[in-house]
């Protein structure tokens, strides 16, 4: 069975959609030379009209994509560094995502914003290591965080085909992952559908992005003490609340592990909704980054702030014993 890497999955999904639909094109920096590897081979195949190399002008490029989308195209905009999404936050949440409503349904803005390397990079310093997906979910922008190569293929494909703006976060912690796949695995994954990676009956661990692998490792490590169900939401907005409710109906206990900051992060929303609406027999817990900065260029300091397997294991055991 062939091994598919995460980045190769993004590349294959993009190539397939560009082949299928001539309205799909890419805007981004260094995309001609495929610095992030997502556009490898695509410039030679599709040319400069469809792999459009841009100057460093993220705000204009983001609105350029919105304008092109309203004129009938399906842009994919690549941002190399997570903080660039903060620079264009207004253009995405206040312009692109509101035009359908502001125009009373006249406008469609089918733009995909691809972040092919989101989250912590060892030693890269304070400004290159964010993973700001919670901000987009907060604003109701469709947001996906695929954990696996097959989901990267399937969710990126669905994002491109969707008629609304969609932000795709590819976590750095997932990029090294390779997966055995058959052609049948490489299919569109509907937005808003979670995946249960491992079934269990004592506690539900909701893990986002690359943290799915940590949750699976902890589930293995604690297998003789506790039965952990690992739920990967895959899409943060719209969230698959039915899948969470189904899992909690079985376990009644919840731990969320999330690479956001604590305040107003995705984990906070998951805990709040579960508490308001779902079956819980013990207080839920979350593991997040603290608020404030990832510290910078000293890896040990950064790692001290990020969700770890040890903290997850300890938290799971506490939740199982409480209530």
């Amino acid at each position: 069975m062939p091994k598919l890497s995460y980045t190769r999955a993004l590349n294959q999904a993009l190539a397939a959609e560009m082949e299928r639909d001539p309205a799909v094109f890419v805007l981004g920096e260094d995309v001609r030379h495929a610095l992030t590897n997502v556009t490898v081979g695509l410039f030679d195949r599709f040319g400069p009209e469809r792999i459009v190399e841009t100057p460093l002008s993220e705000q204009a490029v983001t609105n350029f994509a919105t304008g092109a989308a309203m004129a009938g195209l399906r842009p994919v905009v690549e941002y190399q560094i997570p903080f660039l999404l903060l620079l264009v936050f207004e253009q995405i949440v206040n312009q692109a995502n509101k035009f359908p409503m502001m125009s009373g349904g006249q406008a469609r803005v089918p733009v995909t914003y691809l972040l092919p390397a989101a989250g912590w990079r060892s030693g890269w310093g304070a400004q290159h290591s964010d993973e700001p997906y919670s901000l987009f979910a907060h604003y109701g922008v469709k947001t996906v965080v695929p954990a696996t190569p097959a989901d990267a293929f399937g969710l990126f494909t669905s994002a491109i085909r969707d008629d609304d703006p969609v932000v795709v976060f590819a976590p750095i912690g997932s990029l090294a992952m390779r997966q055995d796949v058959t052609p049948g695995d490489l299919v569109p994954v509907p937005l808003g559908t979670a995946r249960v990676h491992r079934e269990g009956h004592d506690v539900t661990v909701v893990a986002i992005g690359h943290l799915v692998y940590d949750a699976l490792a902890v589930a293995d490590q604690l297998a003789d003490q506790v039965s952990i169900e690992v739920l990967d939401p895959r899409t943060l907005y719209p969230f698959d609340w039915d899948a969470l409710a189904t899992s909690l109906a079985k376990t009644g206990r919840l731990v969320v592990v999330d690479d956001s900051n604590r305040t107003c992060g995705m984990a906070a929303e998951i805990l709040a909704t579960a508490t308001e609406e779902m079956h819980l027999v013990a207080p839920p817990r979350r593991i997040t980054r603290p608020d404030g900065a990832i510290l910078g260029s000293v890896p040990e300091l950064d790692l001290a702030l990020q969700p770890s397997r040890q903290v997850l294991a300890d938290t799971v055991l506490k939740v199982v014993k409480s209530g």
Partner: protein, 339 residues
């Protein structure tokens, strides 16, 4: 009612410009009445005084060309061909409006005449227009796009970035600056270092500065830019020197900030573009047009106020083109859920 580009490329007649300008003037005056009476709750950014720019621009464009308007955009939409009644209904928040009452006075999209809308971030329509124009050109169309913005927009990074993109990629877009000398209350001298046209020239974009109180040179300048764009020669920038006779927004009717010298206002009012254009047509024709416009505006007010307001139950409609429904702000209780 209003005029758009003629197939043979000939210039509109003086009375054509006058008709459009008179419509815009009376439309805005009646809209201000509706602000005072509470029918337009947002207030408006009146374009009274700037009608020549709108009329000249609209006359140089085809109905199927794309426009990104700005917050002072009612005249721009009317000159592009929007139905006065549907535009006024939009401003009054009626479902019969051009954007079903969802855009209001500030963001009235009217795709039926190529107006995609306007942005809250000043100047951010420029990259939207550039992207739309690029998409049109790529599809082989000869349609072009224009972005209209004020002097307050010319220091926005996104706008200047879009000049660079448009020039690099020879995008068929015309950038139109309505320089009315004030960014809200900030006078041009405290707002713009260098010159307005110098910003476009820095990117190699042909730029000119034109009298914006006379529709004929406005038309000629925009038509030159549109011709360049249609011929595949890339972007053009035009600065129109104009003036708004009213406040930035109708909130000035009550707050009455003093940032303009009354003598300056009077000097510009003495150059009223409507009076200028009226002087170019026979008096009986002018009277006839005025009477026609009164009927149209009265009918627009009647149509606007007769339209239904949206049902609050539909407040989350149109949020997503895909039809996604957001969850309400109040969650269902556990016992109400079906799992």
């Amino acid at each position: 009612m209003t005029i758009t580009a003629r197939p043979d490329g000939s210039a509109p007649r003086p009375e054509d410009f006058y008709r459009t300008m008179r419509l815009i003037r009376r439309f805005e005056e009646r809209a201000m009445d509706l602000v005072r009476s509470g029918e337009i709750v947002s207030g408006i950014h009146p374009c009274i005084g700037q009608e020549a720019v709108a009329a000249g621009t609209g006359a140089a464009l085809r109905r199927d060309d794309i426009m990104l308007a700005n917050h002072r955009g009612h005249g721009q939409l009317l000159a592009k061909g929007s139905q006065p009644g549907r535009l006024l209904a939009e401003m009054a928040g009626r479902t019969t409006g051009v954007a079903r009452g969802r855009g209001g006075s500030f963001h009235p999209s009217d795709f039926s005449v190529g107006v995609l809308g306007s942005t809250g971030s000043v100047g951010h329509g420029a990259p939207l227009a550039a992207g739309a124009a690029w998409a049109l050109a790529r599809s082989g169309s000869d349609r072009v796009a224009v972005s209209v913005f004020g002097d307050g927009a010319v220091n926005q990074g996104a706008l200047l970035e879009s000049f660079n993109l448009a020039a690099l990629w020879q995008v068929p877009v015309v950038f139109i600056c309505e320089n009315n000398l004030y960014a809200t209350t900030l006078p041009i001298g405290a707002n713009v270092a260098g010159s307005v046209t110098g910003r476009a020239e820095a990117f190699g974009i042909p730029a000119e500065s034109v009298d914006g109180m006379d529709p004929e040179p406005v038309y000629a300048a925009v038509a030159r830019g549109v011709a360049r764009a249609r011929a595949g020669h890339g972007p053009t920038f035009v600065e129109f020197r104009t003036y708004r006779f009213e406040g930035h927004h109708t909130f000035e009717l009550t707050t009455r900030p003093r940032y303009r010298d009354p003598e300056e206002v009077a000097r510009w009012q003495a150059r009223d573009p409507l009076a200028l254009q009226a002087g170019r047509i026979p008096e009986d024709l002018r009277g006839q047009i005025d009477a026609e416009v009164e009927v149209i505006v009265a009918e627009a007010v009647r149509y606007a106020l007769a339209g239904p307001k949206p049902d609050p139950a539909d407040a989350r409609q149109y949020l997503y083109a895909s039809g996604l429904q957001t969850r309400p702000g109040v969650a269902a209780r556990a016992e109400e859920r079906t799992v």
